[in-house]
């Protein structure tokens, strides 16, 4: 009956491949085609420029409050590129790069931040859920999808995202536990940006890392430099391959910094210093990936200039398209609020829809409920 340390069957790792200055660890460097590397940079730059423009639009009052994603491009893109289109992408709300990469149109994203649910409709051809506002709640959907993939046996995997604050929620625990118990093919990608609005990670938990919890759940875990897209790419690639081959879930903690306010309604000067933010700016993901790509002669300034010009055109076009779309039905029609709650519009909602139409002086016969099931039956 001895008293002795318990030997745990798993341990967690830390990995970084590109250091703060963009120097690469040659042994860990993944083999990625030059064209793909350049493409990765293009997507990151695109997400960055979109985020910057969204801020301007918000300041101009053309979109509503939104959470900026600047600085989280490496985590979002570096993981999402390991998915197939019919794998599931289950984001929280700072995965702008992943949304764009998965085929969400910029026009749709703008429409969402202009206040329309239509912008939360996932594009065709991919298995994506929209932004999840309630913290950590989406992780359980990911666990359930992974369980479903095992039941169906179709080898799809699920990649889901959450912040450091989310780790305090009960749903985070339940999701990690469910995924582990049922060996669901889920990759839990934690964007540890060290802040939950104003509360720093040190007040969120009293342990060294987030990833060490993987040991407690009996699943593999790895912590990576989340500003290093190569490390994110390699860690999540391994996790996807393991999940797809029946090896169950993985927890990937990606350390980054929340470079921006929590949302455009937040004022970080109340709880952190500008010096702290500036220290992290030097380590941000685009700068170091750019250095790496230039060192490899994959990218030059002319390339970046060209990318920026193309991106600007795309963003300008999308803004015009989105603002035009809001002036026409269905976006311009307030009655659309009723149209998709159920497959069939129940009597009470039909009555309320008519009541609102009357209050607004609208003709309901011109704005038939758009619900697919309802209109199909009407046509039949």
């Amino acid at each position: 009956m001895p008293r002795k340390p318990i030997e745990l069957p798993m341990q967690v790792e830390y990995m970084s491949i590109l250091d703060d200055t963009g120097e690469v660890d040659k042994e860990l460097e993944p083999k990625v085609e030059a064209a793909q590397l350049k493409d990765m940079f293009r997507w990151m730059l695109y997400a960055r420029r979109v985020d910057e423009r969204l801020l301007k639009l918000q300041r101009q009052g053309r979109i509503g409050t939104f959470p900026q994603a600047t600085g989280h491009e490496a985590i979002s893109l570096g993981s999402a590129i390991n998915l197939k289109p019919d794998d599931w992408h289950v984001p929280a709300y700072r995965e702008l790069a992943g949304f764009l990469y998965r085929g969400w149109t910029l026009e749709g994203i703008l429409i969402y931040w202009m206040g329309f649910e239509e912008g939360a409709r996932p594009p065709e051809g991919v298995n994506d859920t929209p932004i999840a506002v309630p913290i950590a709640s989406q992780l359980l959907h990911a666990a359930g999808m992974g369980m479903a993939a095992n039941i169906v046996g179709d080898k799809k995997v699920v990649m889901t995202y959450f912040g450091d604050g989310a780790t305090s929620e009960g749903d985070c625990h339940e999701a990690l536990n469910f995924a582990s118990v049922f060996q669901a093919p889920v990759i839990f990608v934690c964007l540890n940006n060290q802040y939950a609005i104003s509360v720093p990670l040190s007040k969120q938990m009293h342990c060294e890392t987030i990833v060490q919890r993987a040991v407690a759940y009996g699943m593999p875990g790895i912590k990576v430099d989340g500003n290093d897209i190569l490390a994110v790419y390699v860690a999540t690639k391994e996790a996807v391959e393991r999940a797809r081959s029946g090896g169950g879930p993985t927890l990937v903690e990606c350390l980054t910094y929340r470079y921006t306010p929590h949302t455009t309604a937040d004022d970080p000067s109340r709880y952190r210093s500008d010096e702290e933010t500036q220290r992290w700016v030097a380590k941000e993901p685009l700068i170091r990936f750019e250095k790496y790509l230039k060192n490899k002669n994959v990218l030059n300034d002319a390339d970046i200039k060209k990318m920026d010009e193309e991106i600007e055109v795309r963003i300008n076009e999308a803004i015009i398209a989105a603002e035009e779309a809001t002036k026409k039905p269905p976006l311009s029609d307030p009655l659309a609020m009723f149209d998709y709650l159920y497959a069939d519009l129940p009597q009470n909602l039909q009555e309320q829809r008519e009541e609102l139409a009357k209050a607004l002086g609208l003709n309901t016969s011109e704005t038939e409920p758009r619900n697919a099931a309802t209109s199909a039956r009407r046509g039949a």
Binding site: S137, L140, G144, M145, A343
Partner: protein, 326 residues
């Protein structure tokens, strides 16, 4: 089909649904080898195995959240929360996701799942095991709520719920599980969600109830007929959301008098909504104020006092006589 009790009828529906549709997955706490604490999932695990009959960890939010994920994936999960009094752990998943995915993705992602919950009092259970909180879900957009009142409606409503393209909260009044038996048809029948049933026609007063208190309503109607010579019209709502306003209004327009009976607390209960709809649609037909016979606005008492809390035939008769003599 032989006569069977409600627990058996629900079990039959689960067997039938799982046999018919490989997408139907049953999940919850103790529903596998233990076959459910009320034995409602009897035989399912033995027949279909642990892939489709899933004993989950003890976590209500986990059960509902994972079921939502399965439904998004294309399966048809039927999740059980062991007692309605523990649904609060999962309420955010039900309200923020199950009831909203279709709406916020404009019809692209849907959650065709059923949440089964043994509900209500009357079985001398320990604390937190006797709640009736259907009004919370009726108040939550995007959900449907159905409550059977016996074996036949239990089987038919469960089939309807499983086939429904939207999330359905299916309350099982556990006082009814083994209270009485009924014949159920040989072939599978479904009841349309959103439709009430007139279980007895009458002309002088309308009694409206659902779930376990349908028994109190029937008891009261018998007393009223025997002692007062009044034949009450009785409506079994079956569906709480959507609510069958038409059937309610047609009856009240005929009788001019009404008593609503349910077990859940009175304030903002289903009775409140029924009264409001009568007010909007049949006020001028009323001969008397509508009475509500309901649970009181206190937590359902621990079992020594629960009988006093629950509606029964005598309470309904008293209310009906007040309404009739107004």
């Amino acid at each position: 089909m032989p006569e069977m009790n409600m627990a058996k009828a629900i079990n039959l529906a689960l067997h039938e649904a799982m046999d018919r549709d490989s997408r139907v997955i049953v999940m919850g706490e103790d529903i596998g080898p233990d076959e459910g604490v009320f034995r409602v999932t009897e035989g399912l695990w033995k027949k279909h195995g642990e892939k489709r009959v899933i004993d989950t960890p003890l976590a209500e939010s986990g059960i509902v959240g994972a079921a939502i994920g399965m439904a998004l994936y294309g399966l048809r999960p039927v999740a059980e929360i062991q007692f309605a009094g523990f649904e609060y752990y999962a309420f955010h998943q039900i309200e923020m996701h199950a009831g909203r995915y279709r709406n916020r993705t404009r019809g692209k992602l849907t959650v065709p799942m059923v949440l089964r919950c043994p509900s209500g009092g009357g079985i001398r259970a320990i604390e937190h095991h006797s709640e009736s909180r259907e009004a919370i879900y009726a108040h939550s957009p995007g959900l449907k709520v159905v409550i059977p009142s016996g074996p036949r409606s239990a089987r038919a409503l469960l089939h309807a719920a499983i086939q429904d393209p939207d999330p359905v909260i299916y309350y099982e009044p556990k006082a009814l599980y083994r209270l009485f038996k009924e014949n159920v048809p040989e072939t599978i029948e479904t009841l349309p969600i959103g439709r009430a049933q007139v279980i007895q026609e009458g002309s002088e007063i309308t009694l409206i109830s659902y779930g376990a208190t349908v028994r109190a309503m029937i008891d009261a109607a018998e007393i009223l007929e025997e002692e007062d010579g009044v034949k009450a019209e009785m409506i079994d709502l079956l569906s709480i959301a959507p609510l069958d306003t038409e059937t309610i209004l047609n009856s009240v327009r005929k009788t001019g008098r009404c008593v609503v009976i349910h077990e859940g607390p009175r304030t903002c209960g289903i009775g409140s909504e029924v009264v409001a709809r009568i007010n909007e649609g049949a006020l001028l037909y009323l001969e008397a104020p509508i009475k509500r016979v309901t649970g009181y606005d206190v937590p359902i008492p621990y079992f020594a006092r629960e009988k006093a809390y629950l509606p029964d035939g005598d309470k309904v008769v008293s209310a009906a006589r007040e309404v009739l003599s107004f």
